[in-house]
Amino acid sequence: MSDLSVNIVGPRMKNPLMLASGILDETGESMLMAVKKGAGAVVTKSVGLEANEGHRNPTAFEIGDGLGLLNAMGLPNPGINDYEREVKIALTGGVPVIGSVFGRDGKDFSYLAGKMEDYGASAVELNLSCPHAKGVGMDIGADPEEVGIIVSAVSSAVSIPVFAKLTPNVPNIADIALSAVKAGAEGVVAINTLKGMIISPETGLPVLGNRLGGLSGPAILPVGVRSVFEIKQRFMKEEVNAVIIGVGGISSAHDALQYIMAGADALQIGSVMRWKGAAVFGEIASGISDFMDREGYSTIKDMVGIAQEAKK
């Protein structure tokens, strides 16, 4: 019988599937819903120092028929002081809660991560990758040196594991991943959304209120799998032992297995809930379990990174 549990964020997770940051996680009650449907852990909405309303609508829409979502929410959040309530409610679900935070520098990030630790988060995820907010997210997360400085500051400020969420909108994501773990991160989360835009020809205007947005969903799966593969390859080459959490376009067990075999120790699920709802957690978990039973794998670890050894 296959064992889906993984141990990467402190408390053991019953399965490797986390609710991804930014989807159905602004409120504690919604995070609880994902837990009830089978999520092994939940990541909060990215929270900053102050309440932020985000960008003006349109902020998100579906493109193609289930192809993906384009969004420019603009990091809406109630501010860290008002967020304790949501974390506490999410914690009643009995699975690890990972606090996602965003700031401008090491000082902001350290303060926010400390608050998340106080609220009971098992780990923190640093949003160094949102593609549509000024002065934060990928504005600072595209530079390996800057990422190292921020991660280093946070790692010395908190005692829970620190994960850096990375942007794919860079020439070499593995450079940034390496910089993050060398600065003390427990691991990295890859990938955030791809920069994108949709224009309405009839009006001659970009549709999103912020004009520029981030693409997520099934369309970006190959980009995420490639990114995780490159990061794992670099970690192996540099003999770095760090966690990789794969995210981007996962909508089935088949997609999840691709990430695991590229090198991901755990996975995050987000946009697919537009089409399948939170029930997708249970569907993917049992799909992975069936695959493992069929193919003779007993733990998730047995499959992590096996595509790395394939002959070219």
Binding site: S200, V207, S271, R274
Partner: protein
């Protein structure tokens, strides 16, 4: 042909007719080929300005649709001042609409909630159900959809300038005392809808309500319109009594644009 979202983000349609309903409310008519159901909504894009959720206030078989807009802010003001021939973007229809169950139905609407409720009233009447539409407004001038062919309409106003002088919930209770109903459907200010829920459950009458929350994505992913673990845009906007009785924030609290909890 059915509109498809394609890689467009939003469907651009031309406004065919603008109909003034009250001093501050207009209906915009356009054509959008879709399978819209009673109680669903569109995300309406005012190009370059904003996008707002709007109940679908008319659904015709030939694809004619309308949204009914009350001038309350920048985006709705822009919509209210639009003219035939101008363009808007349409996403949707989204959400779960009215169940349209019940044989003797009391519909209770307040203010701009009538934009959603009117379609349910017309549909109940069309299939031959016994419908009473109870409309609350501030004054006679604010009364929306007060004259509807084939539907019994009862009116209340806050200032007594038309119909019953007082709360629409008091008028509804009076009607419930006079006649038997097996379904209550409501859309309007949430405190009014909460009062109707209390009345309905005390009398053991089935109930559903169409809720309003600040909406962003409209497709159930961003959590802006969250209420008690549900999303109004996807789980709603119409919710049954069985769910609403379990949500303690219904009629009490909502979220602002930043996700902070605020009292209604």
């Amino acid at each position: 042909m059915k509109h498809s979202e394609g890689l467009k983000g939003t469907d651009i349609v031309e406004i065919e007719k603008v109909q003034r309903e009250t001093h501050d409310t207009v209906s915009l008519y356009f054509t959008h080929h879709d399978d819209a159901k009673t109680g669903q909504f569109y995300m309406v894009w005012i190009p370059g300005l904003d996008e707002v959720p709007m109940s679908i206030s008319a659904i015709e078989e030939d694809g004619r649709r309308s949204v009914t807009v009350k001038d309350v802010g920048e985006a709705t003001h822009a919509l209210c001042t639009m003219k035939a021939g101008e363009q808007i973007g349409i996403r949707g229809p989204f959400g779960k609409g009215y169940t349209l169950v019940g044989k003797r139905v009391l519909l209770v609407g307040g203010g701009s909630g009538m934009a959603s409720l009117i379609v349910a009233a017309r549909e109940y009447a069309r299939v031959g159900k016994d419908v009473t539409l109870c409309i609350g407004a501030r004054t006679k001038e604010d009364l929306l959809f007060g004259e509807q062919a084939g539907i019994k309409v009862e009116v209340s106003t806050d200032d007594g300038s038309a119909g019953f002088h007082g709360f629409v919930t008091d008028l509804a209770e009076r009607l419930l005392n006079e006649d038997d109903y097996d379904m209550i459907v409501t859309c309007g200010p949430e405190i009014m809808m909460k009062k109707m829920l209390d009345i309905a459950s005390a009398r053991e009458i089935k109930y559903e309500a169409s809720l309003e929350r600040l909406m962003k994505c409209g497709i159930g992913v961003c959590d802006a319109c969250a209420i008690g673990g549900y999303r109004v845009c996807k789980g709603g906007p119409v919710f049954p009594d069985t769910i609403l009785l379990k949500i303690d924030e219904f009629g009490e609290r909502r979220r602002d644009a930043a996700g902070r909890v605020v009292k209604l």
